[in-house]
């Protein structure tokens, strides 16, 4: 077990284009940390730097108490599960699992025992002598997992390991990985572009964009307390609605805090009713443009004077209705500055009290 630290790490490829710039990242011992971000945000590069598959241009990588910049990948106490599993195609399942142990110079008898134990855990005993190409996707995934586990590493690294599986199997593997983390208590680092995976699996999420860490926090913290507009947009399905200051001001009166230039709210926090309502908040009369029924919830895309946005409702879908009134509670609003950074406010930063605002809107 080990904690991982990146100190001022930069990575640039030949043409000086920096993929990662001056990154400081702390990954706690025993945590399940998920690196998430859009393609090209540097999450895989970060992972590969930790694994030692990429050199850094500047900065230090610490695993436990050891500076590992010049330590070979195989000697860092890391196991990695690749997106395409990267199983050795000419070796049997047994050979695949055993290869790392062989290189660790573990005696044959002991190796055999370890392989069989691990095969038992991942339920592969009867496939030990098969070649990877004769296995299904899920089974290959388990071989990759077994190969990683058998070395008893300090750190597990996963590079989008579930993206090649179908939706059902993915859900199942997700639960299995969470259980595995609980059982082993080892540090897990997991890369994905799928925010659902990130939210459901991690106990810590690191959101990256263009080689910078946008926020690092627990999943619910990231969700409820995004540090900036990027995180607010990236986490949550559908993403947070962002309205510009001027559009909101038309409805609410002047915003007093000068730093604020955008106002955001989560689609599920907007209360939607056909009848006019009497809740405190920004009231908007809207027109439904599209509706997506997802079973337990319904997504609406609506048009208002303040712009288009999405609303999530857990009530029965409004099939016939075209016009609705929507209230966004004041305490569920998020404020951002021109750079998209979060602005934290003590009070509701509107000049006119909420009550009067509503009166105005309802006219």
């Amino acid at each position: 077990m080990a904690k991982i630290q990146l100190k001022n790490v930069s990575k640039a490829y030949g043409n000086n284009k920096k993929v990662i710039e001056d990154m400081n990242l702390d990954i706690q011992d025993g945590s399940f940390t998920v690196l998430v971000g859009p393609s090209g945000c540097g999450k895989s590069t970060t992972l590969r730097i930790i694994a030692g598959l990429e050199d850094v241009s500047a900065g230090e990588i610490w695993i436990g108490d050891q500076l590992v910049n010049d330590v070979a990948p195989g000697k860092r106490g890391i196991s990695m599960v690749f997106q395409n599993y990267a199983l050795y195609p000419t070796m049997s399942v047994r050979g695949n699992i055993e290869f790392g142990l062989e290189n660790m110079k573990i005696p044959k008898a002991e190796r055999k025992k370890m392989v069989e134990e691990i095969a038992e855990i991942v339920d592969l005993t009867e496939y030990l002598d098969k070649k990877p190409q004769n296995l299904s996707g899920g089974q290959r995934q388990r071989v990759a997992l077994a190969r990683a586990m058998v070395k008893k590493p300090d750190v597990f690294i996963f590079d989008e390991p579930l993206s090649n599986l179908d939706a059902k199997l993915r859900g199942q593997m997700r639960t299995e990985l969470i259980q595995l983390h609980k059982r082993l208590g080892t540090t897990f680092i997991y890369v994905t572009h799928d925010q659902v995976e990130a939210m459901s699996m991690g106990d810590e999420i690191v959101i990256l964009d263009k080689g910078h860490i946008m926020q690092q926090a627990a999943p619910m913290e990231v969700y409820h307390n995004p540090a900036n507009q990027f995180v607010a947009n990236f986490i949550g399905t559908p993403s947070m609605n962002i309205l510009s200051k001027s559009m909101v001001e038309e409805k609410t009166g002047t915003i007093t805090d000068e730093r604020i230039s955008y106002v955001g709210f989560r689609p599920e926090h907007a209360a939607m009713q056909v009848e006019k309502l009497a809740a405190s908040g920004i009231n908007l009369s809207c027109e439904i443009i599209t509706m997506e029924t997802l079973g337990s919830e319904t997504l609406y895309l609506v048009n208002s004077d303040a712009g288009q946005f999405q609303v999530k409702s857990f009530q029965a879908p409004l099939v016939e209705t075209k016009k609705v009134d929507i209230t966004i509670p004041m305490d569920k609003l998020y404020y951002f500055d021109t750079q998209g950074n979060r602005v934290f406010v003590e009070d509701i930063p509107f000049q006119t009290p909420a009550r009067e605002v509503r009166g105005e809107v309802l006219v």
């Binding site: 030692g52 990267a86 195609p89």
Partner: protein, 274 residues
């Protein structure tokens, strides 16, 4: 796709003609090897001898130290094969997977050697080997072919197709480069290696020119040279004996080809597993 009947017939006729062109010399060789000397001369030629003279093979075999020739051929062909694998595999691995200075220049140099005709360099190589006192030895037949530019080129292509992730996985498994090469790359390149080996073996088994130039006594002579000497018997050529010798020459190749055919086809269809 459906083909019309006339086209089909044309197709079959075309194929038959091709087969005939390729198979005829071969059948003629076997047929002649079983004739009496008189029968080889008759006109119109006979395809099937009246009587099968199997003794021709014994005469051919006994007309010179053929066991010696045969052993020399085996040693030279297998020797070249082993040397080439030892040199070609690491070279191809390095060209495919390492970044080093002058890599492209060096690789171009290797490629250039393929464009120089053997006739152009045989004299310097001959003189060189003569200086080393290797004339008329098996080493003199093996060493000039101890590596192969074509082999490096072909194997490099195969190695390049191995997904990078596999090598990364192996590096994380604390594997040495040598082990990556031998345990992962080479098994994956097996079809290519078999094709290369076969190609090599056939070329050097049949090679006539170089052994003829290099050898002066029967101690290092190979089968093709030995068989060519069957022509130099007193008073005209004994075609039946000569052809029997040729059949002896090609049998090992036929046997090998028969067993390796499957792999040759695979060499061109191998795609690897995800």
């Amino acid at each position: 796709m459906k083909t019309s009947l006339p086209l089909k017939i044309l197709n079959v006729i075309g194929l038959i003609i091709m087969v005939a062109i390729f198979a005829m010399p071969f059948i003629w060789m076997i047929s002649t090897s079983l004739k009496t000397l008189g029968e080889t001369m008759v006109f119109p030629p006979k395809w099937i001898p009246d009587e099968l003279i199997w003794e021709n093979f014994i005469s051919a075999w006994n007309s010179g130290p053929f066991l010696q020739y045969f052993m020399n051929s085996v040693l030279v062909s297998v020797g070249i094969l082993i040397f080439q694998f030892i040199t070609v595999i690491p070279a191809a691995y390095a060209f495919a997977r390492y970044e080093f200075r002058f890599k492209n220049v060096l690789f171009s140099l290797v490629m250039v050697t393929m464009m120089i005709p053997a006739q152009l360099i045989f004299l310097p190589v001959f003189l060189n080997l003569s200086d080393w006192g290797l004339l008329d030895t098996l080493w003199g037949l093996i060493l000039p072919f101890a590596t192969s530019a074509f082999g490096i080129f072909m194997l490099r292509q195969t190695f390049k197709q191995v997904p990078e992730e596999l090598l990364e996985a192996a590096r994380l498994d604390n594997s040495t480069d040598f082990k990556i090469m031998m345990k992962i790359m080479v098994p994956m390149a097996k079809p290519t290696l078999i094709t290369l080996g076969l190609f090599n073996f056939i070329t050097h088994w049949n090679d006539y020119f170089w052994p003829l130039v290099m050898t002066t006594t029967e101690s290092a002579r190979t089968l093709p040279v030995g068989i060519a000497q069957l022509r130099q018997v007193d008073g005209g050529v004994a075609w039946n004996i000569l052809m029997a010798g040729n059949v002896i020459l090609v049998i090992p190749i036929l046997i090998i080809f028969f067993f390796a055919q499957r792999h040759i086809i695979r060499a061109f269809t191998y795609t690897g597993v995800k």
